[in-house]
Each structure stands twice: as structure tokens, then as C-alpha cells.
């Protein structure tokens, strides 16, 4: 596929989606704004924000690109008994469950170093661990739904699934963090 390399052609291809995604992201910003007072009071939670959002998107996009490759190779079927499918799902959840407690500890430590953590380390680790586990499950659901939809509508999952999954997980990351903070802090 030859693409046009002009400013106008690139802008036509990317700007509409970009602006739509921006509106969605402002939505997640509004959720963040709704618990701004809590975030400002506890800096370790503020430290958790970018890493939670980013890692959720990454978990989803890694799963999406692996499923997409398997899909292109013709080795993927949407059957819970499919080894390729369930193996990748298990790996995604395991990655989140093993990584997020460390993320929580890191966030607490960084808050201590950069100006004082007002929360106990176990609270921050618990917030990160709960957010991570819930996000992994949500990332799996969103990725499977988006990949399946791309497959049903005969779209190339590479073009559609990754942007949808990354941005949906960004928003879910903020919502889940909000829920975990409400529950545990």
C-alpha cells in the first residue's frame, strides 16, 4: 500500500479520529477532576495516575497485537477452549497481577522522595493491586470485544483495535483508579 506523504493527506487520515479521541480523553479528565482534592491531598495517588492509565492501555494493546497477529496467521478462533486465546488472556491477567503491586510500592517511594507520602505504603500497594487486577479483566473484555467486532465487520484489526483499546483503557484506567480510591482510602 502506497500512502500519500503530504500534510493535507496525513491530516485528512488522522485528524477526525484524533479529535474524537480527544473528546473521550477530556471525559476521563473530568473523572480525574472530580477527585482532584483527594489526589492533591495524597501525592502517592497522583503519582499512580499516569502509570495506571499507561499500563492499562499497554496491557490492552499488547494483547490486541498478539491476537491480531494470530488472527492474520489464521491460528485464532473465538472459542474459550482455544489455547491461543485463553493463554494470552491468562498472560495479560498474570502480568497485571504481578506488576501492579510493585507499581504501588514504587509510587509510594517516589512520593516519599519527592515531597512526602501522606498514605501508608500498604494502602497505596492495595489501591494499585486492586486497580491492576480489575483493569486486566476490563482490558481483556474490551480487547476481545474490539477484535471480535473487527473480525465480524471484516476490518483489519491492526488499524482499528489498537487505537480503540488504548484509548478505552485510558478512560477505564481513570475510572478504576477512582473506584479503588473510593473503596480503600
Amino acid at each position: 500500500m502506497r500512502r500519500e506523504w503530504t500534510v493535507a493527506a496525513i491530516t485528512r487520515a488522522t485528524l477526525p479520529v484524533l479529535l474524537a479521541l480527544t473528546v473521550v480523553e477530556v471525559g476521563s479528565g473530568l473523572v480525574l477532576g472530580s477527585f482532584e482534592a483527594t489526589l492533591l491531598r495524597y501525592p502517592s495517588l497522583l503519582v499512580l495516575v499516569p502509570v495506571t492509565i499507561g499500563t492499562a492501555g499497554n496491557l490492552g494493546s499488547i494483547l490486541a497485537s498478539r491476537l491480531s497477529t494470530a488472527f492474520h496467521l489464521g491460528t485464532l478462533s473465538f472459542d474459550p477452549a482455544d489455547d491461543e486465546l485463553s493463554g494470552n488472556v491468562v498472560a495479560t491477567v498474570t502480568l497485571a497481577v504481578t506488576l501492579f503491586p510493585v507499581v504501588g510500592a514504587g509510587a509510594w517511594l517516589l512520593a516519599v522522595v519527592t515531597g512526602g507520602a501522606a498514605l501508608a505504603p500498604e494502602t497505596v500497594v492495595a489501591v494499585a493491586a486492586l486497580s491492576g487486577a480489575s483493569l486486566a479483566v476490563l482490558a481483556v473484555v474490551v480487547t476481545l470485544a474490539a477484535t471480535y467486532a473487527a473480525y465480524r465487520f471484516e476490518l483489519d484489526p491492526d488499524d482499528v483495535v489498537i487505537p480503540v483499546v488504548t484509548n478505552a483503557c485510558d478512560v477505564l484506567g481513570v475510572l478504576v483508579l477512582f473506584g479503588a480510591v473510593e473503596l480503600l482510602v
Binding site: L46, P50, V51, G54, T55, N58, G87, V90, L95, A111
Partner: protein
Amino acid sequence: MSVRAVAVDAYREAAPALVASVVGGLFAGAVLGGMRGQLRAVDGLLVLVPALLATRGNVYGAFGARLATGLHQGVVEPRVDTGDRRLRAAVAAAMSNGLLASGFAAVVAYAVLTALGEPVAGLGTLVAIALVAGLLSGLALTGAVVAVVFAGYRRGHNPDTIVGPLVTTTGDVFGLAFLVLAVRVVVGGV
């Protein structure tokens, strides 16, 4: 392959990139944690943060992917040449789309916060902060993407696998660091 074998394989393959992005994300978090002064001074700034960070990822991720495809197809040479029409167009499109989306995010955030009756800084202030931050982080990310993708390609790495982790790890750190700077430039020393 059994479920276990697939899972172990997928875990091993994904863990290094994910750990790298977690480290980058924690650094970005440290910057965000350190900008409480700016967040208190400019109402609505926190609402802008996810949109501005996502714009960096969406715009410069796409720019990097385009560059990688261009290298694969042989339509772009792996060296920096300001006379290269295609490279110039791709850079100009990324910069202008990044700026447009940043300014647009500020306008949308301002409009929604005003409609909800929430406290919000002036429209001009928010837009100016978003544009200054977008310009500075755009310049830094363009430089980083071009340099790393070209250098990686010349050393025989697949540019496709470099772009994603590069943009996700550096995008948030650059994005937030330049947001602090932008607030200082627009509002003054906070």
C-alpha cells in the same frame, strides 16, 4: 501449544516492554506529583492531563508508525535530511495535528467545566498552556522518534517494535515536564 505454554511465552515476550513503560510511567507520575502547585493555581489543568498525554501517544505513535512503514517501503531514507519532502510533510503534519488537538482539548475542557459550573481558569490561559506544552513536547518527541527510529533501523532493528515503547515511555514524561514549563511561561512562576 497448551494454554500454559502460550501464557508463559506471552508473559516473557511482553514483560520487558511493560516494565520499561511502567518505569517511564512512574517518572511521569513523579512529575505530576511534583506539580501540585501548578494544578492548584490553574483550575481545570488536571482535566486536561489525560487528553494532552493521549494526544502525544496518538500523534507521535502514528508518526513513528508512518516513518517505520516508509523505511520498510524504501520511500524514506534513514538519515535526517531537511530537504526530504516526505519527512518534512510527516513532521509538519504531526506537529500541526498535535497542536490542533491540544488546543481543541483545552477548548472542550473549558466549555464542559463552564457548563457544569465548575471553577476553571480563563479560556485564553488554558489554550495558551496547551499550545505551549504541545509545541515543546512535539519538538522533543519528533526529535526522539526520528533519531531512535533511524538509528535503530540502521543497526538492523525493526522500527515497528521500537516506536510503541519509545513513545509510551518518553511521551508521558516529556508531556508532563513541558506542561509544568508551559504553566510557568503562561501564568508565571508558580
